[in-house]
Symmetry: C2
Subunit: 350 residues, 2 copies
DNA sequence: GTGAAAGCGCTAACAT
DNA sequence: ATGTTAGCGCTTTCAC
């Protein structure tokens, strides 16, 4: 039937497919990359040849000429060192937050054949490694989630001229695209709810002050409460962990035993606060109403279930990915920021 | 001072460094790859040139000739579709389990300059995508975590002759390396503890039956209890989620109101069980003792804190990575399985 | 010990 | 509409 061709050894290449199909490499390349200007019948022949050879394009070779890798870095950057000696990599996913962000990014990228490379950047050395990785052309750009404000990575990335999109506005003004939530609006929703419930002595467990989002949630809450005639709001600083929420609530209760409402800057801390309240024999929400932030899995894993400010993380992460691809596609794509609105999810705790 | 060289445009290449250093590309390549047979002074000169040019090797070009990418795929494979329409990507990280595995793998890989590419494989199409990705040479191998037993991916990978290591023994015998825990031993630890506490009417909330680990934890528990003179152990099947644990406990209580001890196949379900018990007014551990599995963050996020069977996930993930690199390094590396021992972590719930 | 030269597999001008 | 050709940036024999 067919002409006898020398058997292929190793992975088939474009050349092999071309030989089997009886056309040139260029033509095969064209049908693979879906470029028109290829006669239908030839197209068919080539497809056949691809199938019989089991050809798969070599990523490195393609990458070398296109200068694109088809992958992006998903970088989690931060200080680490909070959770008693536990390595940063382990801490990161302790908050359901990161998983949702990763999931949201993947949901957008995967249909486009792009996969994220997971990287952590908690030390100067790790940051250099990330920059080097990007500069090598190992990834086309970066999705960057910083866990604290003074992260130098955004600046380093801008200086290196690499495409990137941040989760959350950078602490210091940096010409880089980002996606964020209106944290102040979220805090306001919490304040509204607490006041509407009739709470008169509310307090707050904030996130770490070196995180901009923490500041915004705190000041947004304080301002809203001030507008309701409560100029002074007792507060303690947590670090977004369950334990810090529990400890914070204990402190709050010790100093202000008459508290009847609490706004915690994330669900994990709110969950911790619930534990402390129970220990003190306070009923939630009747004695003390509690509102969290994020609408993470923690919100429904405790009793009473948390009323919380929802942050549409998956959508936000998807938007980050969308912006990043735009930047990669067009180097002149304008620096953009997209701010999402929060929503109050009412459950049992307030 | 130095001879004036034409200015470099774009990223510097080996060629540029060679020109600046006044040597050949080959020599620069040698010092970069740490190959000896380069005179110390030349070495110095080259290093200098690398520094002044800001040279970074191009990954694609290197990859093309070495046939190595320096990255591995971290694939989470499973059925999905449990959690009410939520996309698989989002479900995955809902269990703290995956975050710890990812963290453990990164801890091992990162110092070696290798970064994992995150992939999900919950549908036939997604599986093909993973295989294709690997066959393209986009990653040197795969770390594979399956969420259910009948996952066809291990077989597909073996057929494609790709280096890979599994989390947990594959359901059907497959010539592929894996790392696992002695689930039976873990279940035994739980049984021992429950019996030692004086529990006489124990029950269990198992994981999904199509997961081998669930079967082993269940049968290991049953066998151990049988040895203690309890041949029949009431049980319900959960799916490793918080909610299924809660629902399971309600069912158990309805059918066996006199239960005084429960072994749940993971911490999330144990946490859910705690909620159900509280709702029924049962004190833990006095009325009912509860033991979980995994020693995840959920174990300390509830009250009473969970006594649980610890699975050294980070170590196990690290070992997976170690085995994978061995397979990549040496294609003849023997298929290996490593079984880790569990440990009982005693807290308050039992 | 160092350099010259030959590719790795692919895409993209440029011809035809 | 298809083929020819010239690289992309690197490693690696093979000479010297």
């Amino acid at each position: 039937m067919s002409t006898d061709l020398p058997p292929l050894q190793g992975t088939p290449t474009l050349e092999d497919v071309a030989r089997v199909a009886g056309v040139s490499r260029a033509t095969v390349s064209r049908v693979i990359n879906g470029i028109r200007n290829v006669a239908p019948d030839i197209q068919e022949t080539v497809q056949q040849a691809i199938a019989t050879t089991g050809y798969v394009p070599n990523r490195a070779a393609r990458s070398l000429v296109t200068r694109r890798t088809g992958s992006v870095a998903l970088v989690v950057s931060g200080a680490g060192g909070d959770a008693g000696g536990e390595p940063f990599e382990s801490q990161v996913f302790a908050d359901p937050f990161f998983g949702r962000v990763a999931g949201g990014a993947v949901a957008f990228l995967r249909p486009r054949g792009i996969h994220p490379v997971l990287m952590f950047a908690e030390t100067a050395h790790a940051r250099d490694q990330v920059i080097g990785y990007l500069r090598q052309g190992s990834a086309d750009g970066a999705l960057l989630v910083s866990t604290h404000g003074e992260d130098p990575l955004p600046r380093l990335i801008v200086e290196a001229g690499l495409p990137a999109v941040l989760w959350a506005r950078p602490a210091r003004p940096t010409p880089i695209s980002y996606v964020d939530l209106s944290h102040r609006a979220g805090a306001e929703l919490a304040a509204d709810r607490l006041v509407a419930r009739g709470c008169r002595r509310v307090a707050t467990i904030s996130g770490p002050f070196d995180v901009r989002a923490s500041q915004d949630r705190l000041s947004g809450f304080q301002d809203a409460m001030a507008r309701y005639g409560h100029p002074y709001i007792p507060g303690v600083e947590g670090n977004f962990t369950h334990d810090s929420g529990e400890a914070g609530m204990h402190r709050l209760l010790a100093e202000h035993p008459d508290i009847d409402g609490v706004f915690a800057a994330n669900d994990l801390m709110a969950q911790g606060a619930l534990l402390a309240l129970r220990e003190h024999g306070r009923a939630v929400p009747d004695d003390v109403a509690v509102i969290g932030f994020d609408d993470s899995s923690a919100a429904t894993a405790c009793r009473p279930q948390l009323t919380t400010v929802r942050q549409p993380m998956e959508d936000m992460a998807g938007e980050m990915a969308r912006l990043l691809l735009a930047h990669i596609e067009d180097p002149d794509f304008q620096v953009t920021s997209v701010i999402f609105p929060p929503a109050l999810v009412v459950r049992q705790s307030a």
